[in-house]
């Protein structure tokens, strides 16, 4: 399929392979935001006039769309946040802070994004929980076997990404969750890299808490989702208090908060971008999440098979299905490779990709990351491969 008509950014002679950082946006998303600001700009849940009612209903429709998209039991289990980072912080600081005690253990991995490690580190500093790591296999996978080995009678939470942002491996979360629940362990899933790439059915997977971001799935920046099973979500203490989340207050002893999801959405929400996010979900539904997954896997295989033949390229996750390729060029610092590719208008990311503990596992600190989405073409891939098939990358990266 040709998406050039739908994505303004695809008409700029840029090859964009940094989808793990953020995806491009289709025009329908931008149009919806423009439409809100142009035609019914007003606050949601506040007014008695027509355009405010429209703003409220458009905003709430998106909640319904998200509910359908991840198959939540109820739309009250969908809370809008500013992104995965805020969602994860709310889970850790609004729920676990009050439900864990000293020496309780949380299991995570060394390939997590900073936003799924730092809140736990801070909780360790604050209340003395212990952050432990599930060992990764040689290919940097998480296996159920290694999860089982890591569980002790102190383990209360497993908090892991569904798909990691450097290696791109898909964790067997269904099996992990089943096992965890048998042992009274709750599971937090960081879905930032997975929800727009593979079907995530929170009921089928039996996920306790899920965090994800709109901008990594065609939506605007500044919007994310916090999903939780109703009773768990209802136990989260708000981090923010203010308008829109209370029913009444007279003094510190007499305060009544609204029910879910509103009690976790204090203040005026990011109405415009939530409405834009709704169009992003429609777009993904039209393409089909299974098609997206299959296409990204195929394009990854196509690129890997060609890069493998270039002798100065080292790929770190060749055998991993998914949409991410982590690599380096022999003797070239990752950032120099990325700067070199930029000369050909090819966008890739270099660095530790916010997964700073992964160094312990990979033995290298910095990589270049190619992250694919469904609008990338084999033509994009060929341009990338051609640029990398050059034994003067270091020299040309200098720019002198």
């Amino acid at each position: 399929m040709n998406y050039k008509n739908d994505f303004p950014m695809l008409n700029k002679d840029i090859v964009y392979f940094d989808n793990g950082a953020t995806t491009l946006k289709p025009k329908v998303v931008m149009d919806a935001i423009y439409d809100y600001y142009s035609n019914y700009s007003s606050n949601a849940h506040r007014g008695d006039y027509k355009i405010s009612l429209k703003a409220s209903s458009e905003y709430e429709n998106v909640r319904e769309k998200v509910k359908e998209f991840i198959n939540a039991n109820s739309k009250d289990e969908i809370v809008f946040t500013s992104g995965s980072t805020e969602s994860l912080n709310m889970i850790v600081n609004g729920y676990f802070k009050y439900n864990l005690s000293k020496d309780d253990e949380v299991l995570t991995t060394k390939s997590e994004h900073a936003s799924n490690i730092l809140p736990w580190y801070e909780l360790e500093n604050e209340i003395g929980i212990k952050v432990k790591y599930i060992p990764l296999t040689e290919n940097h996978y998480v296996t159920l076997e290694n999860v089982i080995k890591s569980i002790t009678n102190k383990t209360k939470v497993i908090s892991i990404a569904h798909v990691t942002n450097v290696i791109g491996d898909v964790r067997p979360i269904k099996e992990i969750i089943q096992y965890a629940h048998k042992n009274n362990i709750l599971v937090v899933i960081d879905g930032a890299q997975s929800v727009g790439h593979t079907k995530v059915d929170v009921q089928k997977l039996d996920i306790d808490f899920l965090a994800f971001s709109a901008h990594k799935m065609l939506g605007p920046t500044g919007v994310g989702v916090l999903y939780g099973k109703y009773d768990l979500l209802d136990s989260i203490r708000p981090i923010k208090y203010g308008g829109g989340m209370n029913v009444s207050f007279t003094n510190p002893k007499e305060i009544e908060y609204k029910p879910l999801p509103y009690k976790l959405e204090a203040g005026t929400q990011n109405i415009a971008d939530v409405i834009g996010f709704g169009k992003a979900i429609d777009y993904i539904n039209n393409v089909g999440i299974d098609n997206i997954e299959e296409y990204c896997n195929q394009l990854k295989e196509y690129i890997v098979n060609k890069l493998k033949n270039i002798k100065h390229i080292n790929i770190y996750n060749e055998n991993v299905e998914g949409s991410t390729i982590a690599f380096n060029v022999d003797g070239v610092f990752a950032q120099d490779t990325a700067i070199y590719l930029d000369k050909y208008n090819i966008c890739v990311r270099s660095g530790s990709h916010c997964a700073k503990k992964l160094e312990d596992e990979l033995g290298i600190k910095n990589t270049c990351r190619i992250s694919i989405y469904f609008y990338n073409t084999t033509k994009d891939a060929d341009r990338l491969i051609q640029a990398l098939d050059n034994d003067k990358i270091l020299e040309e990266s200098l720019g002198v």
Partner: protein
């Protein structure tokens, strides 16, 4: 300085940097210098003796521009007095910022005279030498 020569100088200093590797020696003062917007990070050691820079060493991971300019800066600054070194550094900073500067005293450091054309690389080209400057200024 022609482009070919500049490239060769940079590549040689990136691939075989001068004084890379730290010493376990408490007569050196040291610091970490990194770019918060990218992934370059250096640990730098400096030793002054009789008012002169006796030695500078470094370690860390950084791009070719940062590493090579660090290496060249070290070889250029060892043996200089504090004032001489600060004067060279000041002229180097002026060159990077496209201001008037004394080309003659920079010698091989002139390899970076065109870096201003790549604004995102300015920080790479100054990371090491700024670290050295911080250390020199720490010394009374």
């Amino acid at each position: 300085m022609d482009s070919n020569f500049k490239r060769t100088l940079m590549l040689e200093n990136y691939e075989r940097p001068f004084h890379k590797g730290l010493l376990d020696d408490n007569t050196y003062i040291s610091l970490n210098k990194n770019n918060s917007s990218c992934i370059d990070s250096f640990n730098i050691q400096l030793k002054m003796e009789d008012g002169k820079i006796k030695d500078i060493r470094f370690d860390g991971e950084a791009c070719a521009i940062a590493t090579s300019s660090m290496s060249i800066s070290i070889s250029k600054l060892i043996g200089k007095t504090k004032e001489e070194a600060l004067n060279i550094i000041e002229n180097y900073e002026k060159m990077i910022d496209e201001k008037d500067y004394n080309k003659d005293i920079l010698e091989e450091l002139n390899a970076y005279e065109d870096i201003y054309k790549q604004p995102s690389r300015k920080k790479c080209a100054t990371l090491g030498i700024e670290g050295i400057k911080d250390l020199i200024n720490k010394e009374k």
